[in-house]
Amino acid sequence: MKAAIRAEAAALFAAFQAAGAVPVEADILLPAGTLLDLYGEDIRARAYVTQDPLRGEMMLRPDFTVPVVQAHMAHGADPARYTYMGEVFRKQDHLGDRASEYLQVGFEIFDRDAPEAADAEVFALFAGLLAPLGLRPATGDLGILMAAVRSLSTTSQRKAALLRHIWRPARFRALLDRFAGRAAPAPSRLRLLERLAQASPDALIEGAGPQIGLRSATDIATRAALLVADAATPPLPAPEAAMLDALLALSAPAAQAQTRLREIVGHMPAMAPALDSFAARLDALAARGIDPATLPFEASHGRSTLEYYDGFVFTFHAADPSLPPVASGGRYDALTAVLGQGRSIPAVGGVIRPNLVAALKGAL
């Protein structure tokens, strides 16, 4: 079986090179700090963490994106197309037969021009390679959701809070309900606001106990002032909350979704660039033989933790719902800025799991 998987991986790796990608290597042992700062504490539950006597906490490569982006930002050509093949390691916290070590083959495009064309190139390339397996594609566009949040008529703090949790659906929903006045504030918040109406934050902090820890009285007073300001902020207008609800629930073939998107957000001038980008991507996909009339689209697709996608997203699933996606990918422009130390470049890419390809071919 291992030989069959490796042969699938090699074939995919060759296909990506034939598509113009330069092969790149990445270390297996990566500094844990970068990954933890990027993904948060959740990655610790998913990645193997080990201790190096000189280099500190290290992680067995949980994915290729971070090392490939770092290598590109350090000394990459512009534009560039990369491919890679190698093991990734994921701790499994549940009993079962999910692999904790498996091969990934990936393809990434770093290009400043025509991002929609690059999105379509990646998707069409994957769709073509996976066509014999009869997989179910799914697509989404986090750029539309983010643009919708940015276009809300509310404070920048509230927009920032929603954007920060765009990948955490439950918390996003809780914030939206609170900002829209659909959920009451916590009783403790109301008590605090009453007390802040009687006394200054500094006086309340002083009276609450000795100042301990690194979070300073200034940090506390700053947030207390923000809470007072937020309490005076009018709720999100009902039509805007309804707009976000409709957007989150949107699931239709891409061509139909485009019509629905115009109905939901078309009246908002700030949404024009995101809609134009969506239209340009559908054209680019159609030009590559992907029919927008049948391509599934969900506005919420790609909203899960450990993700960093901020535009087009896609997955290819087998019929068995218990299997992880055979392939997944998307656009991650913001990640290149985080890892680029002041520089950034639009980027899109994805990975295929050759073990699933081999298993599905064996079952055919």
Binding site: L36, D37, G40, E41, D42, R44, A45, D93, H94, L95, A161, R164, H165, R168, A170, R171, F172, A174, A186, S188, R189, L192, R195, P201, L204, I205, A208, G209, P210, Q211, I212, G213, L214, R215, A217, D219, I220, T222, R223, A224, L227, T305
Partner: protein, 235 residues
């Protein structure tokens, strides 16, 4: 022999002995007080294994003991997919303690998990690193915070005197076990209103991995009848 693991010292051991004693099973530490060997009377075929409460989950998972008494917090924290490795037979009604999240009392703006999340975002922006929560219950706390959608925090390991970590500047908040809250108050900390990570107590567990031959299965059935505990659907 059906092996039953019981905490080897302190109130947890005494209370476990009392609980079984009231139900007709006498457990005794044999020989000197410091000797970790014991005997069981009232039922044949049961061997007492005295060990640290913290090691009971591991021994159950490995199947080296058939039954074990320990805190529900320890089993949930130390075993991945705990309920597929062990079966919860009966809560024993003692050893109550709550795993909670606490922050400095001077944080007037933080009373809920929601507040903690917002404070963590602001803290990271102001100080350049993720807000540190000191704990020894890594799995329980991380799962809880992940489920709550909390970001921009990090767990730092603290195996004791966790309440002191904030004052010592090695953490900004803590997640720890408390019974009365006295230690928290003495260290100028307050418990978040809605952050009860786990309400723990001593529980009798059965191992799913132990070897259950005809003899141990029979003794198991006899013991459960004697102590009045229903057999779970499947072990």
């Amino acid at each position: 022999m059906l092996k039953i693991g019981v905490p080897s010292k302190g109130r947890l051991m005494e209370k476990t002995f009392d609980w079984f004693g009231e139900r007709g099973v006498q457990m005794r530490q044999s020989g000197a007080e410091r000797e970790y060997a014991g005997s069981v009377e009232g039922i044949a075929g049961v061997e007492l294994v005295l060990l640290s409460a913290g090691e009971v989950p591991r021994e159950l998972a490995a199947g080296r003991i058939h039954l074990g008494v320990t805190g529900s917090d320890l089993v949930r924290d130390k075993l991945a997919d705990w309920d597929r490795q062990v079966a919860e037979l009966a809560p024993l009604g003692f050893g109550h303690a709550d795993l909670i999240i606490a922050v400095p009392a001077c944080w007037i703006d933080v009373d809920t998990l929601d507040d903690l999340d917002a404070a963590a975002a602001a803290f990271r922006a102001a100080h350049g690193f993720r807000l540190r929560i000191a704990t020894k219950y890594h799995r329980l706390v991380r799962d809880y915070l992940t489920a709550g959608g909390i970001a921009d925090y990090q767990l730092v390991d603290s195996q004791g005197a966790t309440e002191g970590t904030v004052k010592n500047l090695t953490a900004e908040a803590i997640a720890d076990i408390t019974t009365t809250g006295e230690t928290l108050r003495a260290n100028h900390l307050k418990v978040l209103d809605d952050a009860l990570v786990h309400a723990s107590q001593a529980v009798l567990f059965a191992s799913r991995a132990a070897e259950w031959d005809e003899q141990t299965t029979r003794v198991y059935g006899d013991l459960l009848r004697l102590i009045g505990v229903a057999q779970p659907d499947h072990r």
